[in-house]
Every structure is written in structure tokens, then in C-alpha cells.
Symmetry: C2
DNA sequence: CTGTTAGCGCTTTCAG
DNA sequence: CTGAAAGCGCTAACAG
């Protein structure tokens, strides 16, 4: 492996001149510049990342805190990772994957002290999150995909769960549904202050009340079996239910099955909408599912770019950005039975 | 951030002694050792990864080459990543995600020259793979999840596609099926020498011939639509077809739909088995799918551990390990119609 | 516009 | 068993 010294000799200049040429840290005459770059690719030279990082105190490496959640990783999470990695690389950064127990601030402490990474992108934030508290007090650069209860002075990007819920309810109301169910994440997620569970629920209850609708809610584990029984409970609690909103993809197959087992058909008798979902998932189901799709790609990318911008110093304005999911209407949502019979009688 | 020098002063020893104590590179008296470690955690000291890497020429960072394949990432790929990251961390390594165009040896070249990573784990290998050729000639440490045409002297771990295919066919034959279809990956994947496509196909054709079965094969893009039309083509080509083996999860929903649209029911009239699939996926379908499940967790973990072992020098024996998928029988496979009518006449 | 040089924090000979 | 000191390859003052 050639070193900067080799390049310098080859180009007949001082080592530091090569450094300046590479980093553009100070003006270099066109002529020298040319010679240096010629020497560089003649030797196949690439600056040594470790040495550069050590000397400059900036490794150009960031970490994605990738928690091993019980809920399980899905396609959406995969997209976070991929888009974060892409964004990092496009900006000349490396992305290390740091998988941890979600509440483990200790692990994070280690990572920070190693001096390996310039900053971290944190996923799966809880309302009260030790990791964030730690980062905050340590003054270590970070951005969040998600947010806590108090985000003052923090950079984050998140799904606008409220807006998403509002859009979905509006869609259903537009179809004539007035008795709507909501299957939230599991109860322990909710109690642990997991943001999506908390915020979607609040907005569901608010919106339902504001519109004089009949809303029923249940918590639901991330499995088809749980979805199956939860939707049955929902229907038992409100026999007039004609639509359900599901927060977790993994419960959806169970929901569909339960509905079918009752001899009902989708969407004629019953509508199903999945929120914070993905097209890939939606199109796997029969019928295909109307979904509010998570802007996973944007979240991963923006979270990463936000961090990098912060590291590069320039832009230091704190910002919290919320992006709603995009509603994509497919086969699983349709007019309510009441509306349909009105029309046919008319 | 305290440095090693700080620790040394604090413990009243020389800097180098601290280094030796940490790395266990040479014997240290119990007493000094104790003082050093006391000083370390009093100061909250963690060795600087960059400095250590620069001095020792071993960064303890490895990269996972994570290609942006057209076929799209799925749950199986996600599991590779997660299990690789876990394995790396458990062994004191960092894992950087390096997403590249699959055939781009140039990108890889850059990565290697940067001196950031000690080795790489390569995924999505093709029979002829530039990246592998490059790594090979450069003598850069690597392991493969997958394999090429010629793996002499290479460390790899892969799915045993042949064995997997054999197991699945045996399952179907055991159920009385004699006309079996196979939906492979897309034709361009096959032509590009994508291992799974090549090996599964070979074994399918062999096994079918060896057992006097009627086998029909089609290539199929990774989408429900493609699955829908491909299975119809398959049935057109062999009207007696009673079972199909699918290589790509994403086509499966289309297959189910096509079968249903023909008024056939699964598994009574037709059996479907997905290979190199996952439980998560299988349980999302209705009916749940009989699958040969990819040992994704093991592959990611073993690929990583193999690399680390190689880096640590000790174990230098080359090994190629093949793991078959595990057959999990669910609702989508059952006795062939012929067998069923035999039984009922009997 | 270019050169010299002192570190960055650690590993690892080389000497005791 | 312990120290001293020479780098690892680069950045960034400090001097022209």
C-alpha cells in the first residue's frame, strides 16, 4: 500500500502538499495539483482512513443503532438500514451497524468512548429513552429516527403518526364507515412508551371522538394468531364494526383469516387498512391491502444526512421533521355495507 | 477522553505497561495489573479504536458487502445482516455495511485500499464474480455467503440448494405428486450465473429425470404478477401438474391467486412449496406455505465467524460448508389428487 | 503557493 | 517483569 509520502516523492512535492491537495484545505497551483493526482492514480493511492481519522479527529464513520426489538425487524426496518447506508456512502461516510438491546445505554457508552464513530443515528426511540439521555448529556452528535417525549434541541425525523391516522380515518369515513376498530402494537410496547404506539392511539381516540364515530381499540402482539383473536375481540366489543386499522403488518394475515372465517368478505363486508406498512407487504396479501406506507427510504436517508450535516458543522439549526405515511388504496378497503345498501335501494 | 498516557500516570506505570496489560501481550504482575485496571475504570478509559488500528495494522472492523440486487432484499437478507452484525460484535469487531452494485469490483477496490477494514464478507455471489477474482488476486481476507464456480482455496458457507431441492421433491413424491413444476429466479439472474438459480435448476432437472417424474420449469421475476402468469404457463405446458416449487417468495402470492382463480384449491387440488424462504413469510400466506427455510441466521453468523477466525490467524484451514434448508410442512402441500382418489376408492 | 514538523493514541521492538 | 522510544499514515499549525 502506497502512503502519502510515496505520492509526494513521486510527484516531487512535500508530503503536506499532497495532503492539502487531497483535502482542498488550501490552494494548490493547477500544475502541482495535476502532478499529484497523476502520481496518486499511478500508484493506486487511497488515503488511509485510520490515519486520517486519528490525525483529524474525525473518522467519517457513523453508527446506526439497530436495536434487537421483540416486535421483530421487517421490511421497513430493512429499508432504514439500506437507505442509511446508501446516504452515508454517498456522503463519503462509512456506516457501522451497532445492534443492541434497546434500553442498553451501557453499550452505547462503550461505542462513544472508542472514538471510532463521529456520531450515531438512533432508531426505535421510546418516549423516555436512556440512550438519548446519555447522548444528550455527553453532547455526542446524533439524530433520531423517531422522537422522545421532549425533543427540545434535538434533531429528529419521524413518521407523522397523527396525520397518518387522520388520513386513514378520513378515507374510511369517506367510504361510509362509522364503526372503526384499531389494532395497536402490543400493550407492553405501549407501556414502555414506544412512540408509534402512543401517538397513533392518541390520534385515533381524538379523531374518533371529534367525528362522532364509534372507535374501539385493542393491543395486539405481532403475529397472525394475535391478529386473529384481536380482531374477533374487536368485533365482539362492537358488533357493528365494519373496518379495522392495523398498526402491525404481522397481525394482518390473521385479521384477514378471521374475517373470512366469519363468512365475511373483504372489502364488501369489512375493510382493512394497514398503517406504517409497505407496498411489498401489501401486495403479498390477497386481497391486496390498502396501506399507509411508511416513508422508510426517506427516513433512513434524511436521518443520516441530518447527522452528517451536523457533523460537518455548517448547518446547526435543530429541526424535527415529520413525514406522514402515504395512503395507497388497494383491494381491502371499500364502501361500508350501510352505504352500499343505501346506494342499491336508491 | 482519557488516553493511555493518563491511565499510565494514574497507575504510576509506563504507558507501554498499560498497553501490555490491556492486550495481554506479555505477562504483568498481578499487582500492577490491578492498579492499571483500577485506573482505567476510574477514568472511564476505553482504548481509541483508530489509534489502535493504525498502530497494529488491524482495525478490527470488517465489512459486509451488501449488494443492491434487483431481486430486492427480503427478510432473509435482513437476517444475514443482523446475524452478521451480532456475530461481529460478540467477537469484538465492528461491522460496516457496504452496499454496492453487485458487479462493481471498482467500489470494492476502494474499500480495500482505504485500510479501514481487515476483511470482508461477500453476499450474493455469482458463479463468475469479479469481486471474488479481485479479492483473490489481492489476497485480501474474505469469506463468502454463497460460492462461485471454482471455490478452490476459498472459505465459504452456502445453502445446499441441491439437497434442499432433493428434500422438497421427496416430500412431494411422498405425497403422490408426479407432475411437478419449478419456478426459478428470473432468466437474467440465471444467465448472470447467480448460484442459487443455477444449482437449484440443475438439481431439479436431475432429480426429476432420476425419478421418472414429469418436471417443468420456468423462470420468473420477483413479483406476484410474474408468479401469476408463470404458474399459468407451467400449467399450460403440463396440464397434469399438481405441484409447484417456487424459488422466490415474492412470486408466491401470485401463484396462490392463479390457482384460486382456476377454481382449484390448495392443497387438495394443487400443492405449493416455497424454497429458500422463511417462517415469517410462510405464515403470512393463506394457506400457510410449506417451505424449505433458509438457515439465514447461521449463514450470516458463520460467514462472519469464519472471517474473523481467518483474521485471527489461528485457523487457516479452508472450508466450504453447505447447509440445506429445513423443510417445514404447513398447509399448502398435501396429497396429490390421484393419490386422494385412490384412497377414497379403496 | 509550498515545505517542515509536531503530534493524533496506540503497538511493539529494543533495552534493561 | 517493566520502561523508553520509534513509528503507524495522516492533518494542521507554523514558517516561509
Amino acid at each position: 500500500m502506497p502512503t502519502m509520502q510515496d505520492v509526494a516523492r513521486h510527484a516531487g512535492v512535500a508530503l503536506s502538499t499532497v495532503s492539502y491537495a487531497i483535502n482542498g484545505t488550501r490552494p494548490i497551483s493547477e500544475e502541482t495539483r495535476r502532478r499529484i493526482f497523476a502520481a496518486m492514480d499511478e500508484l493506486g493511492y487511497r488515503p488511509n482512513a485510520l490515519a486520517r481519522g486519528l490525525a483529524s479527529k474525525r473518522s467519517r464513520i457513523i453508527a446506526l443503532l439497530f436495536p434487537a426489538v421483540k416486535r421483530g425487524m421487517g421490511l421497513t426496518e430493512l429499508e432504514f438500514v439500506v437507505s442509511a447506508a446508501d446516504a452515508a456512502r454517498e456522503n463519503g461516510y462509512h456506516l457501522v451497524l451497532w445492534s443492541t438491546e434497546i434500553r442498553d445505554a451501557e453499550e452505547l457508552q462503550q461505542l462513544m468512548r472508542q472514538g471510532l464513530v463521529d456520531g450515531v443515528v438512533v432508531m426505535e426511540i421510546h418516549d423516555q429513552d436512556e440512550r438519548i439521555d446519555l447522548l444528550r448529556t455527553t453532547d455526542f452528535p446524533f439524530t433520531m429516527i423517531g422522537r422522545c417525549a421532549d425533543n427540545a434541541g434535538l434533531n429528529f425525523i419521524d413518521i407523522d403518526f397523527g396525520q397518518t391516522m387522520a388520513i386513514v380515518i378520513a378515507h374510511l369515513v369517506g367510504l361510509g364507515h362509522t364503526h372503526i376498530g384499531f389494532l395497536n402494537h402490543a400493550v407492553d410496547e405501549f407501556e414502555a412508551g414506544y412512540g408509534p404506539a402512543v401517538r397513533a392511539q392518541n390520534r385515533f381516540l381524538e379523531t374518533v371522538a371529534a367525528n362522532g364515530l364509534h372507535g374501539t381499540m385493542r393491543y395486539c402482539e405481532a403475529s397472525p394468531q394475535a391478529g386473529y383473536s384481536a380482531v374477533n375481540e374487536l368485533r365482539a366489543a362492537d358488533p357493528d364494526l365494519t373496518a379495522v386499522i392495523a398498526m402491525n403488518d404481522r397481525a394482518v394475515p390473521g385479521i384477514l383469516r378471521a374475517i373470512a372465517d366469519q363468512g365475511l368478505s373483504i372489502p364488501d363486508d369489512f375493510s382493512v387498512v394497514a398503517i406504517v406498512s409497505s407496498a411489498r407487504f401489501a401486495e403479498m396479501m390477497t386481497p391486496t391491502i390498502t396501506t399507509a406506507e411508511a416513508p422508510a427510504y426517506e427516513l433512513g436517508r434524511l436521518g443520516t444526512e441530518m447527522l452528517i450535516r451536523q457533523l460537518e458543522g455548517g448547518n446547526n439549526d435543530i429541526s424535527g421533521k415529520l413525514i406522514p405515511c402515504k395512503l395507497v388504496i388497494r383491494e381491502s378497503s371499500g364502501e361500508s355495507p350501510a352505504r352500499r345498501s343505501e346506494l342499491s335501494t336508491a
